[in-house]
């Protein structure tokens, strides 16, 4: 319906836009193979895989990966149940209380991560808990719970309430109804929420920066490498992370499309 000229202009714009979107990733990946002490693509000093070897041999990096996985799993274990229970609660209340709770639950998504980190740090310090990865976990949970809650709530709102009633009517206890009817129905949403929660935690920098104490996670490791003694080792790590995230994004999108039909 648009004129041909507009269509052509829009097409050109989109191509430029996609170049803009992917050029940095491309540069990032290529630089990982450049045999130059400093991460760049120009000048090109020949192909090498030594940065991957350096990365592999870097103990601090492995420590950081371990910490990130640990925090990520802890976040999943805490945030998925809390977010789910909160969504169940929100789904069956109405009126002012609901709007108030909903507002409080969504608010952490709009608060800058560093402020979440700072408030967590100060609150726990004042009651005598020193900073460390446990505080990073708590701080991250405060907003990752919001994501979980929103995803579970969206699924719950499409659920047929009479299924729960039918289970109760047939003699199931409330817990049995949750276990046999509601949770199986939420299964996909819970799985997606868990994966998303893990990634959110793994990628978190702002909240972790203030709460970590002396510990290092992957994002902290990358940031400190960039600021002090940057080498293409960071690019090598970047390539690994990009590969994982792209694969996850593609799988997530495909799964979403499949489950959308159900």
């Amino acid at each position: 319906m648009e004129s041909r000229l507009t269509r052509i202009i829009v097409k050109i714009y989109l191509i430029v836009f996609l170049l803009y979107l992917f050029a940095p990733l491309f540069v990032m990946v290529i630089a990982a193979f450049n045999d130059s002490k400093f991460p760049t693509v120009m000048p090109w000093k020949g192909w090498t895989t030594r940065w991957f070897e350096d990365l592999w041999a870097d103990d601090r990096m492995w420590g950081a990966v371990g910490n990130s996985i640990l925090v990520g799993l802890a976040v999943v274990i805490i945030a998925v149940p809390i977010g789910t229970l909160a969504a169940l609660l929100l789904d069956s209340i109405r009126g002012r209380t609901r709007s108030f709770l909903y507002g409080l639950m969504v608010a952490p998504l709009l608060v800058p991560g560093i402020i979440i980190g700072i408030s967590t740090l100060i609150f726990w310090n004042r009651i005598g808990v020193p900073s460390g990865l446990h505080l990073s976990t708590v701080g991250q949970c405060s907003f990752i719970c919001s994501y979980v809650m929103l995803m579970v709530l969206a699924r719950l709102q499409r659920m047929d309430r009479s299924l729960e009633e039918a289970a109760l009517d047939l003699g199931a206890t409330h817990l049995q109804t949750l276990r046999l009817i509601v949770l199986p129905y939420l299964r996909t949403a819970l799985l997606t929420a868990a994966v998303l929660a893990f990634f959110q935690s793994f990628e978190n920098f702002n909240t972790t920066l203030f709460t970590r104490g002396g510990a290092t996670t992957v994002t902290i490791f990358i940031a400190s490498r960039i600021r002090t003694g940057v080498t293409p080792e960071v690019n090598a790590l970047g390539l690994v992370l990009i590969t994982i995230t792209v694969a996850a994004a593609v799988i997530y999108t495909i799964r979403k499309k499949n489950t959308a039909a159900v």
């Binding site: 803009y20 709009l110 608060v111 600021r227």
Partner: protein
């Protein structure tokens, strides 16, 4: 509460209330309140805690507002975040419109996936990539020189330029998705009708599409602005020496100045800015929290 009890029974309701309470009270509300209270306390040596020196005071805010350098940084942060937000909107709008009204279903699906991929990659890595590209001896200058557009390299990372460029890139999806969702609900016939009446492309967008997309634009602006104002890593990597971001000063108070009370006052100012922006946008554009949560 009666509805909850009859739906879930006592045990489950208890668990739900407890979980919600732990989350909202212990992880959300109390930490903010304690932070605000802390910002009204003096920074004391351990020996002075509990003495008469340990009382509530607005000194930390006095220090903040008397420090013209820090106030300038705060103003630059607001201005830079606003500019990044506006640029994000300009870059995203055509893409969102294409996705919503011009693309075939297949094109839209592919483009959405392509948009999501960079968003899923760590903000630090994306910013670092721009650091490589924009470097004085980097590929951007190299390519431009190769094609003869410029004679000698340009210093791209200068003042807030690098920071704003990095932020536009980092937060673009926050804008594309809400605007796309909003435009998608616009009835195609309205555009056709405007075209039939002879409206120019510019007028169609100014009078039909943009007003319809307003709630989406508001949500996008809220997301980008709060992310930009609260960003630490983008200015840390792409900021030129001497052009600091407000978050960097907060960090200094905490980990270099070791004055957490002072840092809390700064953090509260930043939080207040974000709250004011969110409330202002919600009021002006008449959107609710539920729209943002999408």
């Amino acid at each position: 509460m009666k509805a909850v009890l009859s739906r879930y029974g006592t045990t489950l309701t208890g668990m739900m209330v407890l979980a919600t309470f732990i989350w909202l009270a212990v992880m959300v509300v109390l930490p903010y309140l304690v932070m605000v209270e802390f910002s009204f306390r003096p920074n004391l040596l351990p020996a002075d805690l509990g003495t008469e020196k340990d009382h509530l005071t607005a000194d930390n805010y006095g220090t903040l507002f008397r420090n013209t350098i820090h106030i300038n940084v705060f103003i630059r942060t607001i201005w830079g975040s606003a500019l990044a937000t506006f640029l994000c909107l300009c870059v995203s709008y055509p893409v969102a419109y294409f996705l919503a009204k011009m693309a075939t279903a297949k094109q839209a699906a592919v483009l959405l996936l392509l948009l999501v991929i960079p968003f899923w990659i760590n903000e630090i890595l994306r910013t670092f990539a721009w650091f490589i590209i924009l470097a004085y001896n980097g590929p951007l200058n190299g390519v431009l020189q190769m094609f003869g557009f410029i004679d000698k390299p340009i210093r791209w990372i200068y003042g807030s330029n690098g920071v704003i460029a990095g932020m536009v890139y980092a937060y673009i999806v926050f804008m594309v998705f809400p605007v796309y969702n909003a435009i998608e609900t616009l009835d195609r016939n309205q555009i056709e009708a405007a075209r039939d009446l002879g409206a120019s492309l510019w007028r169609i967008h100014a009078r039909v599409v943009l007003p319809h997309a307003k709630p989406g634009i508001a949500v996008g602006c809220i997301m980008v602005f709060t992310a930009a104002a609260g960003s630490y890593i983008v200015p840390a990597i792409l900021g030129a020496p001497g052009t600091r971001w407000f978050t960097e000063i907060i960090y200094q108070w905490f980990f270099e100045g070791q004055n957490w009370q002072q840092g809390s006052a700064y953090a509260f100012l930043l939080l207040a800015l974000c709250i004011a922006f969110v409330m202002g946008m919600m009021r002006v554009f008449k959107v609710g929290l539920a729209d943002i949560a999408k």
